[in-house]
């Protein structure tokens, strides 16, 4: 019989685990379910050590393992054709998807959530959200070239909203500006449903040459595992404090901040350092450290390469020497990367990191064995098959239930709302909408972000999509837009998700680019609520079907569950990002008119669709009925037309019609360059059989307004007819009259509109 031996350092070793199989372990406090704990015991054939338990608990968390969403996310990979995969270099499952854009160049892009940290500590939560997504992009071998952010806040007047708005905007501004990445767009929406669950999604995009692509893989035995960047500290440790206090007595600090703290300067240096390492060809594989820290990086690198690893945890450079091994494994300290470096390149690696004054330490090496061994000094504290930690976590098919409220919600149409009786009332409503926080000028936020750095920004807010030049030689570039309408998704998650896709697709098309790929960030309530799971099931199906119909693949994304306070979940908010490619960014189209006397055309058909609209919600506090119908065939025809017209240089300006309808779109296109317009709506009302309220505020999809120079009218109309896109001249641009003159409604002075539109957010915050 073996003699019981106490570990000299007091840590829980593999040997201990074998000798004390029945020791109570805090699996519940770490968020594991009993059957999950049992399956860890089965995998290992013994109880896990406390370090192993720490690793499994973070890697099997919803955040890292996608255990509730996996069965639905599969369809993004299944509902694809070979044609859709044509430009896809790296699909889902890697740090970020990679898309071929031609000329030997590629881009990688992804959107991720940082919702919960941003509510607890808005500044650091939002800042590290930007930092995390940028490292994902970097780890693909790409230079990050831009960021965007998708924000949802609570009711504008709620005092707590100000706390969150200030913190989040300051955090994004602080981190993104200091990293030197242009912020080229995003979304800001206010709704009381997000009061206790604000959404902070961050998107980043990077560019690379095809041959520079890097993957998070360790494939060669003997290669070194090197951790570099910031030191590991006690930040970002949530559950482990429980572990520490329950299992390890009173040594060391017990209260750990659960939100990470960002240092954008360290990340900027890390970016330049990594790019130089990539250039020198000294890195065989690379992984950023984000959620689950070293646990994630080591197990994923090994598992992805079908190899193993032997790691000495005492080699990790620490900010706080009192950290326990479990804490080191779980720490989410920012600005760290893990590289796989062939031994022969170690000297070159050291030279480059030393130049950038970046600290590093060799943790161990890759081994040709299906095992991840982690030692603490001379003691073995982890001995697991890497795949069981990284990829073979639990998968749940959670109960799904059609919501009890759904039928009543859909029956409660906006048709009962009283419509304006005269033009004065319509004009008042239009002014009320343009000065409401959801439609007012967002420059109080966007002016806090650097949009110029790098010198390649071709379009940024307030245009519909952001656009970045990738090749300075040829002008080849990409456009990006993101959208999600939570109200529509609440009314119908399937149709709402398709609408988010349609709108982002359209917003890319209006810039003159050709949509090519999709990313998403799926923000939902608790997966343990069957009604939320139904929303999730519907939304993912809608998005996957929509992508298949449009012929553009999902390249990656992120799921954020548990966005709910008590029993109240947020509106399902699947943020969809669409990436487009444009041969020459010089052909881009802005969202407002600038020349005098150009014709203004409305493309597409308007239906009486006011359910879920800004008119219903913001003016009448009503949300019910059915969201506007999405017809992706029409969206595709419209996008093709816009691209054709852009190629021929026929369009001066193009603006998507979405929330607030045609009325808001006209005002925005006029405010863009402070050039007015004269408009008439009678023909539209007659053609599409609408009353004035529907003509002004309907949110029918597949619609865009464009301005076209008179000399190009014939060509443009012929193009529309040839492609079967409904076209109607509804006005002319007017530089002389500083007004938007809508015949039969009102003549609104630009100065008056601007006065109502600017300063709203500054006034609130």
């Amino acid at each position: 019989m073996l003699k019981k031996k106490k570990s000299p350092s007091g840590v829980d070793t593999v040997e201990n685990a074998q000798q004390e199989p029945d020791k109570e372990q805090p699996w519940k406090e770490l968020g594991l379910k009993e059957d999950e704990y049992q399956s860890i015991r089965e995998i290992l054939g013994r109880r896990p050590t406390s370090s192993e338990l720490a690793m499994y608990s973070v890697m099997w968390s919803e955040h890292c393992s996608y255990k509730s969403s996996k069965i639905y996310l599969r369809q993004f990979g299944e509902k694809v054709t070979d044609e859709m995969k044509k430009h896809l270099m790296v699909g889902m499952g890697e740090n970020a998807g990679v898309v071929d854009i031609g000329e030997g160049l590629a881009v990688t892009f992804k959107v991720e959530s940082h919702n919960h940290p941003s509510y607890i500590e808005p500044f650091q939560g939002a800042a590290t959200g930007v930092g995390g997504i940028v490292r994902d992009i970097l780890s693909m071998g790409a230079r990050p070239v831009a960021v965007m952010d998708q924000l949802r806040f609570g009711a504008p007047q709620d005092p707590d909203t100000a706390r969150v708005v200030h913190g989040v905007v300051d955090g994004i501004s602080f981190y993104g500006n200091c990293l030197g990445l242009p912020n080229i767009g995003g979304e800001t929406v206010f709704d009381k449903v997000y009061q206790g669950n604000p959404l902070v999604n961050a998107l980043s995009i990077g560019s690379l040459k095809h041959e520079d692509l890097k993957l998070a893989k360790a494939t060669n035995a003997g290669d070194l595992v090197i951790l570099f960047g910031a030191r590991t500290g006690a930040d970002g440790i949530g559950g482990v404090s429980v572990l520490a206090s329950e299992t390890f007595g009173d040594e060391g600090p017990t209260k750990r901040p659960a939100v990470q703290v960002g240092d954008p300067f360290a990340e900027k240096v890390l970016i330049e350092c990594c790019l130089e390492l990539f250039q020198a060809g000294v890195v065989a594989g690379i992984q950023d450290l984000g959620g689950a820290g070293i646990s994630c990086a080591t197990s994923e690198l090994a598992s992805n390469g079908n190899m193993g690893m032997r790691v000495q945890l005492k080699s990790v450079l620490l900010r706080d020497e009192s950290l326990t091994p479990e804490e080191i494994l779980m720490s989410e300290s920012q600005e760290r990367m893990c590289a796989i470096v062939p031994k022969k390149h170690l000297k070159d690696f050291e030279k480059i990191v030393n130049k950038w004054e970046v600290e590093y330490s060799v943790l161990g090496e890759v081994i040709n064995e299906d095992r991840l061994y982690i030692d603490w000094g001379h003691e073995e504290i982890v001995n697991v098959p890497p795949r069981t930690v990284a990829h073979d976590g639990p998968v749940y098919d959670r109960p799904v239930e059609y919501p009890k409220y759904q039928d009543a919600l859909n029956a409660d149409s906006s048709s009962k709302l009283k419509r304006a009786e005269n033009s004065t009332e319509i004009a008042t409503q239009l002014m009320e909408l343009i000065s409401s926080p959801n439609h007012a000028d967002k420059s109080w936020i966007t002016a806090q972000y650097d949009k110029y750095v790098m010198g390649n920004t071709a379009l940024a807010m307030p245009d519909d999509g952001g656009m970045i030049r990738i090749s300075e030689e040829t002008g080849l570039g990409v456009a990006l837009a993101t959208d999600a309408n939570g109200k529509y998704c609440y009314l119908d998650p399937y149709e709402g998700a398709r609408q988010a896709l349609a709108e982002a697709y359209r917003n890319v098309a209006v810039t003159g680019a050709v949509p090519r790929a999709v990313t998403n960030c799926l923000n939902f309530g608790s997966p343990e609520n069957p009604e939320v799971m139904w929303q999730f099931k519907q939304a993912t199906a809608g998005l996957a079907d929509g992508c298949q119909e449009l012929g553009i693949p999902v390249t990656g994304g992120n799921v954020s569950f548990y966005n709910q306070t008590g029993d109240t979940a947020i509106y399902p908010t699947p943020v969809v990002g669409v990436l487009g490619v444009i041969d020459d960014v010089a052909r881009r189209i802005p969202s407002g008119w600038q020349d005098d006397g150009n014709n203004i055309y409305l493309l597409g058909t308007t239906y009486d669709e006011l359910d879920g609209s800004a008119w219903a919600k913001d003016l009448h506090d009503h949300l019910g009925g059915r969201p506007p119908k999405v017809d992706l065939k029409k969206e595709k025809e419209l996008a093709d037309l816009l691209h054709g017209a852009a190629m021929q240089g026929l369009i001066e300006a193009a603006h998507d019609i979405s929330e607030g309808g045609l009325g808001i779109a006209i005002l925005e296109a006029s405010l863009r360059f402070n050039v007015g317009a004269r408009l008439w709506l009678t023909e539209l009302m007659e053609r599409d059989n609408l009353d004035l309220t529907a003509a002004m505020f309907s949110e029918s999809q597949a619609r865009v307004i464009v301005s076209v120079g008179r000399e190009d009218d014939v060509k443009f109309q012929a193009l529309c007819e040839a492609r079967g896109v409904p076209v109607l001249r509804i006005g002319v641009t007017d530089k002389e009259n500083q007004a938007v003159d809508i015949q039969g409604v009102a003549k609104l002075e630009l100065e008056g509109i601007r006065g109502a539109w600017v300063g709203v957010l500054a006034g609130l915050y």
Binding site: D170, S173, F174, N177, C178, L179, G180, D263, P264, F265, A266, K268, V269, W356, E357, T446, A447, Q448, Y449, D450, K451, Y452, V453, M454, G455, N456, T457, A458, L459, R469, E472, V585, A586, P590, Q594, F673
Partner: protein, 231 residues
Amino acid sequence: MRIGVITYPGTLDDRDAERAIRLAGGTPVPLWHADDDLKKVDAVVLPGGFSYGDYLRCGAIAAKAPATKEVIKKAQQGLPVLGICNGFQVLVESHLLPGGLIRNEHQHFICRDQKLKVENNQTAWTNLFEKDEEITIPLKNGEGGYIATQDTLKMLEEENRVVFRYLEINPNGSMNDIAGLTNERGNVVGLMPHPEHAVEPGFGPDTPVATRSGIDGLKFFQSALKALVNS
């Protein structure tokens, strides 16, 4: 003509400054903060960014870098030096220009297309502008509020050393609306706004003619090339 651009850790607009020099017809030469060899350049640009994170007073550490020390020495002998944003802060911290730069009055970072008035067209970096010319270039800073003692302000005004003044809006609370300064000799110029972001049609500020077509910043770099040819 070879114009050096120094990269400190945390510098962001170095590649933009190099592009601007190229578009103006010069040859950009990358310089490294830790290296006191200025590679025989004919002029130097200290670009924008957050050198060393700017966690101390902005530009304070960069002012002590080996490359900066060399720049200070050469600037005193007449080398044309342009400090943009963080570069302006470095020039102030190096005492090549007087005064200081503090947190914007409204406490926020601000990025906007900024109108400026050219007050002095006799410097190495502004000789192609008309006096009192109005130009628009991007501004983006968090700590751009210019401050100085009353005596210093008086001296700057009397000696015509205010090169640029903010027009229409003072975006950061700078005293006397000061956006940029020069030294006594006129070879060193520092300003908060970013001329290197207004050098290429399509990527600059909006103009009344077309979206993002402003290139008022190009003349800064062309001026330096002209000054070098004439010297």
